[in-house]
Structures are given as C-alpha cells and as structure tokens.
Amino acid sequence: MSRLLTVDKLSSGYGLTPVLRSVSLHVDTGEVVAVVGANGVGKSTLLRTITGLLHPTHGDIQFDGMPIAGMPAHAIVGHGLAMVPEGGRLFMFMTVLENLELGAFGPTAREDVRRSLDEVMELFPILRQRRTQLAGSLSGGERQMCAIARALMSRPRMLMLDEPSLGLSPVMLEKVFDLIRSVAASRDLTVLLIEQNVADALDMANRAYVIEGGKIAKTGPGAELLHDPDIQRAYLGL
C-alpha cells in the first residue's frame, strides 16, 4: 500500500487564533480513515486546511507525493482530492443534475462528464429519479448522497467528507455509511472522513484518529479504538 496523503506537523487556525497544533497523520491508498472528536477540537479546521479552504501556518501536506499546502482549493480538487463539505452545501435552487454537473469543473472532468453522470446515478439510483428536482426539495439523506455524487463528478482518487452523519436519522446514517464504504471498495477510492458520531465512524473505518484540543490524542484501527476504555468513557458514555 502506498501513502496517498501525508499531513506533517500541521498547524492552522483563524487569524491569530490557533486551532490545530502540530497534527500529523497519513492515509494510504484504499483506506477508509476517520478523524473523530468532540465539538470544537479542530476537525473541520483540519479538513478545511487539507482541502485548501484555509492555509496552514506551519507544516506540510503531501498528496501523492505533491506538496499541496497553500494551493487554492479548486486546484487541489483538480489533482484528485475532492471534498464533501459539512451539510452537503448543495446549490439549493439548482436541480440535482445541475449540482452534479457543477462538480465537473476541471478540463479532464468535463470531458468525462457524461460517463461520470452515468456512474454516479448507477451508484445512487435515487438521484436519477430526482435529477430534475431542485436540490432544496431533497431529504437530508438524499442531499448527502447528492453532495457525495457531486464530489465524485471531479473523478477524484480521494474523497474527504465533513460530518456526513449531520442531520441524518440512524437508518439513513447506516445507509449513507454503507454507501461510502461500497463506493470506496468498488471505485478504488480512498476516504478520509471527519465525524462527531464517534461510535458509527469508528465502526466503519479501517483506521481512525482521535483529536482533542487541536492535537492527535490517539490513533489505531477503528475496531480497536471502539473498545478502548478511555474512548468508551469519553465519547461513548459507557
């Protein structure tokens, strides 16, 4: 397995407020890795920094051997690292189809737009049914699927998801997580997801990192962390 994403001693924050303090992590090709933690520990900041929406104050990020720290977000997407923002962030007054097509911005993605459309509608049949509806009329789970599908339209090698469980019912959550796992397996996609829903995220991930106060507190295989007494006490209420 080769190393796809390496984050080395990364510090980042907003203005003068530091949030992440020297965070290091890595994701190998084909892995599903979760970053979990409570509110306000820097999970979203980490994701926003990796995807280029925020620029780091210190540290390096390498994607497939290429330094991407400080690169503009759309260029990072162009290199094959796509993001599903928190809550999906669909363009609500546009149709499902238009949302999907907007995901194919780069020149190579645009050439493949038809094939990509067919593929994502194969993956999410509900989107085919809903394709002419306005995105604002979708249910929470459908929105999440549409957002994932939009990210896949750029034909990424790696997908990053910010809180895919947000606002989903437990049944829907299970469905979305199943889909993420099957998409990862069937399309050779590497996945990094940020989650507050610690139990479900640890359950689905190959590996996980626990963030506390802007630092990595623990790391290990998902199943192992799930049975870690500290984690159980702090996050699972056991």
């Binding site: 977000a73 759309h74 997407v77 238009e98 050439e111 509806q133 306005l134």
Partner: protein
C-alpha cells in the same frame, strides 16, 4: 420510464459547453426554458419596449427620455452580470462607463475613427482592466467590496481631471456636430433611440446566452455559496474575473454610446454617482437583482419617472421632484422586495394554477 429518460437522450446530443442546461425544470433565470420559448419571451419583451417609440416618435421630450431609458436599461443589464448573478455589488462601474466614453470620443476626434468601431477598443480595455482592478478587491465581501469599488470611481475622477491631454481635464471633450451615419451623429432624435434600443437588445441577448452557459451556472454557484463552489472544484476567482470582463466591456460600450449622444463629456458628468455609478445599482435593485428582465424593468420604471418629475416639478421648488422620486423608491423597497421582476413573478405564480384548472 422511457419518457422520464428523455433528458438523458437530449443530454447526449448537447455539446459539452452546453451540457449544463436542461429543458424540464423550473429555474429563476430562464435557464431551463426551451430555446424557442426564450426567443418568444425575448422578442415579445423587445416589442413591448419599442412600442412607445411608435406612439411618441418625433416628440423630442419623450424620445429623449426613451433614449436614456434604453441606454440605462442596457447598462443595468451589464451591471447585473457581476452584481446580480455574481453577487459582487460594484459601485465602480462608472469607471468602465467613462473609459468607454473617453476612448470612443478620443479616437473619433484624433483619428477620425468611426464610433461604430471606436466603441470596441474601450470595451477591450475594460475587459482587461476591469478584472485587473477588481482582482485584489474580490477578497472583500458585501458592502466592503462596494465601498472599495466606490473608491475606484473617485480615484478615476481625480485622474480624469488631471490627465487633460487624454481627457480634456475639467473642460472635457466636445464632439462637433457632423451628422452622418458613419459618425454616429444623427439629425433625428429617433435614430438615437433606435441605437440605444439596439444596445439594450444586444446586452439582453448576451445575458440570456450567458445564463444558459456553464459560466452562468458557475457564477450562480459562486454567489450562492463560495466555499461550496470551491469544494466542488470551481475556480471562484476565475469565474468572477470572466464575468467582470464581460460586465465591464458592455458598460464601456454603453459609455461610448452615451458620449456620442450628448457629445460633451467631462469628469463630473461621467463619474457622477447619482446619475451614473450608483444608478446602475439603483435601477437593478428596483427592477430585481439577479433576474434577466429586472434591470430593464427597473430602468423603465425609474428613468421616465425621474425625467418626468424633473420636468413637471422642477419649477415647483428645489428638490421637489427628488422627494417624490424618493417616495417611489421607498414604496418599491417596501412592497416589491424582489424588485419589479419579483412582484410580477409573484402575481404570475398566483394566477397560473387558477388558469390551469
């Protein structure tokens, strides 16, 4: 199911550049109507706009008002590209207007270049300079962007006064009255009205095509949610700069036409905020931001009212016409929050289901 699949089939036939537009869902900017219906709306709208010409031709007072209405409708349409669809509330478009005016007149006076061609260099300059001066400003959002672009207008005003070899300074530039089609100088006021009407029609056509293109959709995505657009891989800056280039170039053409109509241009006229720079915004706000027809409707409501009030009440006391105009605008802001276009849409939405039954 086969019928439900038809958009896919249509999709396969479309060129990649057109791939975004689909034919069977509602959309606030006409983007998804079939081309034929768009053409019908467009031509019907143009017909309604030119109809007053037939009624009022040869009455200079009204033809003059119509000429300004068409011109400012076209200018508001141009402004709306970056401000209404792109969400960048520019108050600096007076600069592009002035550059267009000075360039056209300078080329005409010094090189005897026919204004028909002389409009283009100004448009080209603005298509390059507009993105250049807006680039640093795009980091600012909302009212901060508006204030920064307002400053461009004021700085350009000072420059225009100072560089009198180029602009004639405070004395301005005068175009001698040498009538002729090649000179874009006409003895009949009707001809100017038709000229401005053509400008408005062209601006509208460009915006209709733009909003059905990829760039139009990217622009809307950027306006709605910049971060989501970035996350979807859209180069936000590139999209804004392209829209700025188009908006600025059209504004410059409007400026050139304005100059050839009044034939005397000086800095206080061209950089006037209430009459030029802020007026584009005002007309569009009243008409409906981010709609195709809004800026035109706003111009047709405000420009004639303003001119008429000024003529009818100018003698009644200083500023009386402005008080009345202000009252109209307050009423528009209170009762038509989405502008004239939004109000018409609301009436239409209420009326349409009743008709279907």
């Amino acid at each position: 199911m086969s019928k439900a699949d038809s958009p896919e089939a249509a999709h396969a036939d479309e060129t990649p550049e057109r791939a975004v537009a689909f034919a069977d869902a509602p959309d606030p900017v006409l983007g998804l109507l079939p081309w034929r219906r768009v053409a019908v709306f467009y031509l019907a709208g143009l017909f309604a706009a030119i109809a007053p010409m037939g009624l009022l031709a040869h009455e200079f007072f009204w033809v003059n008002i119509l000429t300004y209405t068409y011109l400012f409708a076209g200018l508001a349409v141009a402004w709306n590209i970056i401000a209404g669809f792109g969400g960048q509330f520019s108050l600096g478009h007076g600069v592009f207007f002035a550059v267009g005016a000075y360039t056209t007149v300078r080329l005409f006076l010094d090189w005897h270049l026919t204004p028909w061609l002389g409009l283009l260099p100004g448009a080209l300059i603005c298509a390059v300079a507009g993105p250049l001066i807006f680039w640093p400003t795009f980091r600012l959002k909302g009212s901060f962007f508006a204030i920064a672009t307002l400053a461009f207008n004021q700085v350009a005003f000072v420059f225009a006064n100072y560089f009198d070899s180029l602009t004639g300074g405070p004395r301005g530039l005068q175009v001698p009255f040498r009538a002729g089609t090649a000179n874009m100088i006409f003895t009949s006021p009707d001809a100017y009205a038709v000229l401005m009407f053509g400008f408005m029609a062209m601006a509208l056509a460009i915006v209709i095509v733009l909003m059905r293109s990829r760039l139009g959709y990217y622009l809307l995505a950027v306006r709605e949610d910049e971060d989501a657009a970035r996350a979807a891989g859209i180069s936000v800056t590139r999209v804004k700069l392209r829209a700025t280039a188009l908006s600025a170039a059209l504004t410059a053409i409007g400026g050139g036409l304005f100059a050839m109509y009044i034939r005397t241009i000086d800095p206080p006229t061209l950089f006037s905020l209430p009459d030029i720079g802020v007026k584009f915004a005002l007309l569009t706000l009243i008409g409906g931001m981010g709609t195709i027809a809004g800026p035109v409707l706003g111009a047709f409501l405000i420009v004639p009212l303003e001119s008429y009030f000024r003529a009818a009440l100018g003698g009644a006391g200083p500023g009386v016409y402005l008080i009345l105009l202000g009252a109209v605008m307050i009423a528009a802001a209170l009762f038509m929050r989405r502008g004239v276009a939004g109000a018409i849409d609301a009436v239409w939405q209420r009326w349409r289901p009743a008709r279907k039954k």
